[in-house]
């Protein structure tokens, strides 16, 4: 099925014709899917410029008379908290997570990929096992532990795991990448008397840049989107992340008193992720593709 387009055949005129209609159908199909995919994103852009009462009822994607009131309202914050506080908190969480993941997962991956130590295969199987483990089994005991340590309402429970390489997906991604580096490089370095730390820092890490970038962006986006972690561990609005702060915009009916504010906030919260995606989509998609191919 996938090889039908670029095939030279003897019956040229016919197949050329067929190819052209095929190509048209292809583009129409792809554009239709694109419209469905993009609709919710365009909807939130349009809706954030509408007055609250029109947001649900008006079918017009973009308002005839766009207003800025929703965004101006955001500047006042909510319940005496500036929305910048939420952004700062999210940035702190996501940035801290990126640093932790890059350090801890690359060290672990180096050990798996480049050091031959006793028990390596067993530990690697355990690491792969945690990839499939539902997080919810750990939720209650981890909460109990952090509660006993009086770390509830801090970022320690959210960040500690990132510094201890508990995100097996990124370890796995980096191991795959490091294994494919030419062995001669680190063997030559060994003969020259380099230790592992030196090889890790000066040879392997610089060569792993694509895998590191992929991991960094995924980590940032996951932390930015994270909802359950902050919901459970943070209970003081001043410490809320963006995803938790947004919940304050709705009232008990779910239809927020300030519906326009909620939708504008939704758009603003999406922007960092969308920008990251536009800037780094190659790294994200290639990273995603390799994780599946070599699994």
């Amino acid at each position: 099925m996938s090889a039908t387009t670029t095939r030279p055949t003897a019956t040229k005129p016919l197949s050329l014709n067929r190819r052209r209609t095929g190509s048209l159908a292809w583009h129409i199909g792809a554009l239709l899917i694109l419209a469905v995919i993009l609709y919710p994103v365009l909807w939130v852009v349009g809706a954030s410029f509408k007055p609250s009462k029109d947001i649900i009822n008006s079918l017009q994607l973009f308002p005839g008379h766009p207003i800025l009131a929703n965004f101006k309202g955001l500047a006042d914050g909510i319940a005496d908290i500036s929305i910048w506080t939420f952004f700062e908190n999210s940035l702190f969480y996501a940035g801290g997570a990126v640093v932790g993941i890059l350090i801890s997962c690359s060290l672990t991956a180096y050990a798996f990929a480049k050091i031959r130590f006793a028990g390596r295969n067993l530990l690697f199987s355990l690491m792969i096992g945690t990839l499939l483990l539902p997080y919810h089994v750990l939720l209650i005991p981890q909460y109990v532990m952090f509660q006993k340590l009086e770390l509830i309402n801090t970022y320690v429970p959210l960040l500690l795991g990132k510094y201890l390489a508990t995100e097996a997906f990124f370890v796995f991604l980096m191991v795959q990448f490091m294994r494919n580096l030419p062995r001669e490089l680190d063997e030559a370095a060994r003969i020259d008397g380099c230790g592992h730390l030196r090889i890790y820092w000066s040879i392997v890490l610089p060569l792993c840049r694509p895998a590191l970038i992929t991991s960094a962006i995924f980590t940032f986006i996951n932390a930015w989107n994270d909802f359950m972690g902050p919901l459970i561990y943070l209970n003081e609005p001043g410490k809320y992340t963006v995803s938790l702060g947004m919940m304050m915009f709705r009232d008990s009916d779910g239809v927020a008193a300030n519906y326009g504010g909620l939708i504008a906030m939704s758009l603003v919260a999406l922007l960092p992720v969308l920008l990251f995606f536009l800037a780094f989509q190659r790294y994200l998609i290639d990273g995603m593709a390799t994780s599946g191919l070599k699994g």
Partner: protein
């Protein structure tokens, strides 16, 4: 999954060295290995293995976070099986997984096959279709979903136009779960990217040989494409299924934190959250978590067992 392979040259070199030096080097390698691994080992013991043991213990106790856990044997499990809300949460989750995952994967495979046909525009569409997978889990998108599936909004009006008057899906217990299914299907881009990468690796010669033998498009798909991408299909089925068992955030927000109406979106983790963190039933919630683990383990085992029958691995895959 591939395990770490020892590299042949290194082994040979080590063998030819003097035994004492070899031993010393081995010990140094062990030390270096465990030093590099130390963050992971600490994390594994402190945040994974330890909590798993603790959670297994809590599952057999009555514990509200402030009392000392009291051993109650199988009480939590018998209570759980008799609990109509627990049964409901199993039913809701099963429905969500069984309907959502196949739909999402079928769409992902279909669109991947479509995109694989043309080079022109492929990169653009691939990126655009992938974007929802990045934002789909966010609270923002959950609010957007809640809006476009409410009364009198676009989905309701489109359905009314063809004669189905269901009102807003989010207010209707019969429909709200399908808005969550739609949300997961909307994120078909991630498995699609993996399918596409798999499709690219199918050798062209196979198709050419099949064409010489007069095979049609369907035959080529069934006898070449499908077996050749079966490892990728297996990976996607495994990951997406395990993933969708654990849906929480979007169900919680789309249903306005109640996981309703009428418990219609009471997915498993939502009930676990309510029991553990709203009702402080840490023992009961731990028992629930272990049932989830068992279910996921069972599904994983069945998939791994079945892969012998339908997953085709090339001899020299690496």
């Amino acid at each position: 999954m591939t395990l770490v392979k020892d590299s042949a040259p290194a082994t040979r070199r080590a063998r030819s060295a003097a035994p004492a030096a070899e031993k010393r080097r081995g010990r140094r390698e062990n030390l270096a290995g465990y030093l590099f691994m130390s963050p992971w080992i600490a994390g594994f013991l402190l945040l994974t293995a330890g909590p798993m043991v603790a959670s297994l213990y809590f599952a057999f106790t009555d514990y509200n976070l402030f009392n000392t856990p009291k051993w109650v044997g199988l009480d939590n499990f018998t209570k759980m099986f008799d609990d109509p809300r627990w049964q409901k949460s199993v039913e809701v989750t099963a429905k969500y997984v069984v309907i959502g995952t196949p739909l999402k994967l079928l769409l992902a495979l279909g669109v991947a096959l479509l995109l694989a046909q043309s080079r022109r525009g492929q990169a653009f569409y691939r990126a655009a279709f992938y974007a929802p997978s990045l934002i789909g889990a966010s609270v923002s998108v959950a609010f957007v979903w809640r809006s476009i599936f409410s009364d009198n909004a676009i989905v309701d009006r489109a359905m009314s136009a063809v004669g189905i008057h269901a009102g807003g899906w989010v207010g209707n217990p019969d429909w709200i779960l399908y808005s969550l299914v739609a949300l997961t299907v909307w994120q078909f881009g991630a498995p699609m990217v993996i399918f596409l990468a798999g499709l690219k690796q199918v050798p062209r010669e196979l198709y050419e040989a099949a064409e010489l033998d007069g095979a049609g498009a369907f035959r080529k798909f069934w006898s070449i494409t499908l077996p050749m991408i079966s490892p990728v299909l297996f990976f996607n089925v495994l990951l997406e299924t395990i993933h969708s068992f654990q849906i929480f955030g979007s169900a919680y927000v789309v249903s306005n934190t109640y996981c309703g109406p009428a418990d219609a979106t009471l997915v498993y983790t939502c009930y676990l959250y309510q029991q553990g963190f709203k009702n402080a039933q840490m023992g009961f919630a731990s028992a629930m978590a272990w049932m989830l683990l068992l279910a996921v383990a069972l599904v994983t085992a069945v998939l791994f067992w079945s892969q012998k029958k339908w997953v085709h691995y090339e001899e020299d895959a690496r």
